[in-house]
Symmetry: C2
Subunit: 186 residues, 2 copies
Amino acid sequence: MKGYPRKRSLPLDEIRCYLEPGPIVLVSSAWNRRRNIMTMGWHTVMEFMPALVGCIISSENHSFEMVRKSRQCVINVPTAALIDKVIGIGNTTGAEIDKFEHFGLTAEKGKKVKAPLIRECYANFECRLYDESLVDKYNFFIWKVVRAQVAVSPRYPRTLHYTGDGVFMLSGKIVSKRRLFLPEML
Amino acid sequence: MKGYPRKRSLPLDEIRCYLEPGPIVLVSSAWNRRRNIMTMGWHTVMEFMPALVGCIISSENHSFEMVRKSRQCVINVPTAALIDKVIGIGNTTGAEIDKFEHFGLTAEKGKKVKAPLIRECYANFECRLYDESLVDKYNFFIWKVVRAQVAVSPRYPRTLHYTGDGVFMLSGKIVSKRRLFLPEML
């Protein structure tokens, strides 16, 4: 075990289950024999199929050129247990350290991309750059998820949601309201 | 009181505090003497100043033409107390009913836009269309928030986060980690 969650592959049109609630994610990338991780909170699902995710990766981040040039990344969903590492990753720059090594995280080889997955995270979404038309103007990247895996348990992870100013909201109670939905709205 | 939260105006560069955690929001709009509300979960902050928010409003929604033609909307953040109304708004169409009336919600006049605010919601962000370049391809609207107000209490609202399949995550515990952040990262 060693603290690595066991994972199952996830149908691509189900990534919304883990991204739509709005967790902080870790974006991992590789370029030119370097690898990096950044903390990211500004993202949204954009389409079920193809499975599209849009996100802001500021040009001030070391990851910006790495994801732009490699046209790949992995979006990893950490759980609350990783909170100190998530903050540390945001505090540091890949220009100076290898964040996998520095924070004791395990790089797992991607199956569809060369960017490394973070094994300790609850979910890993391998992404290829789909549309870069808004990168120059807004630093907005649109990714197509090409492979997805999530931990087999728990069903609903305890995720981190950032409110600014050093304060996180932790995901709370799960409430099913299936019976109130019209079937076609599910 | 009547169940309406008392509100204060919010500096525009602080809207991220309420949107970045990823809550389900209600988008209200007005066009051609009609008004409408839709439930929306695919959104992201894109910039502090100007305060930009990107979101997907499907062309299958009655609101699509209303926001596109009026070039305005209000993004309202409901709390968990409004969960049944949030679902009901998603189940119905503004082509058939006036959702304010049907769900007993109070339309408050906007100060910067003609779209109505939903008084019962925790936060109201008045928006003007800023960039429609990705609307045809992705139904992706980029809004500039031009006025923001939030309830004076509680400091952190209990919000709704959608995981699909009729299941919501309710926002949970608030954890300050300020001491771990580099000052420039706050």
